[in-house]
Symmetry: C2
């Protein structure tokens, strides 16, 4: 369960409450992660019960009181173990556009080009934001900065790939898109 470990990791920097954990998480990961409150709050609760974190309630007039969480020695121990353990499993890229992309041969070329253009625009906007964040990240440590760098590189790579693909699609004739499955390596 990686969310727990990520939370414990962030609490090494400083005490935090749920709302901030969410924000920091997304930014620490070069904006390649999403996480939601449905994961954070229940996890904090459970970890408190397990003695990995402690809660300090900071009452404020009106708005809900902030709940500041701190990591305990037990929490640090769990985190350290995880940090040095070797990571099981490989990289997974999940993308609703890319999933459609492989099947665009079964759709109309016009619609396909429209969707590709939308993606290009979207990644161009994101790229701007990532470059902005990168400037602010210059004074972070190596690891956080490198992670931001990776996010940037990924964004740039996909943009270029999209543009190249767009060109190839635009220039293609229908015959270029076989609707028969050619076996790749096996069978």
């Amino acid at each position: 369960m990686s969310v727990r470990h990520a939370i414990l990791g962030l609490l090494h920097y400083q005490d935090m409450h749920g709302y901030r954990i969410k924000r920091h998480m997304e930014q620490h990961f070069g904006n390649m992660w999403s996480i939601n409150y449905g994961q954070i709050y229940p996890n904090l609760k459970k970890m408190e019960e397990e003695g990995l974190v402690t809660k300090k309630e900071v009452a404020r007039s009106g708005t809900p009181s902030r709940k500041l969480y701190s990591i305990t020695p037990a929490g640090k121990e769990v985190f350290s173990q995880w940090l040095v353990s070797d990571p099981q499993g490989t990289m997974l890229l999940r993308d609703p556009f890319l999933l459609r992309f492989v099947f665009f041969g079964f759709g109309s070329k016009d619609r396909t080009l429209g969707l590709v253009d939308e993606q290009i625009r979207s990644y161009e906007t994101q790229l701007e934001k990532r470059r902005e964040n990168m400037r602010r990240r210059q004074r972070q440590g190596i690891y956080v900065r490198q992670m931001g760098e990776l996010g940037l590189l990924l964004n740039e790579m996909i943009l270029e790939w999209l543009k190249r693909s767009r060109k190839e699609i635009a220039e293609s004739s229908d015959g270029d898109i076989p609707t028969e499955l050619m076996e790749l390596s096996l069978d």
Copy 2:
């Protein structure tokens, strides 16, 4: 639910049984996806009940009989609707190594370098395989080929990034790794 649509997409090429669907899926997606039988078989069952696919049982001596699934017109309709709908949500990259990476500042440099080296080796091996597959993919349609291309580019990019990071880590002194969180953009 994207698995269903992906299955329907593959059935456009030809009739298939569960085991093959799994293999093809992984290869169609530039080896960036994983999928398991716990998703495939129940989905095929449900889709048959819903009339999106039909089953033809091909008995064979001894081994379990193959269950060949074909897409129905209703299935094609559902798929087409999905294909032209605009994709909700953005790219997600989940990687157990990368998750640890951002926190390596809290671990030992030696162990960190060891883990990075392991990753480099692993991606080098994968790169070989991907290049192999790419050669075989030359006669696929644009979209499948481009997807394979993306897998390759991603692999190459990460490898370079890992090597650059490794260098920077090796050359770093402890002072380069702040253990205080500097706020990025907000707060």
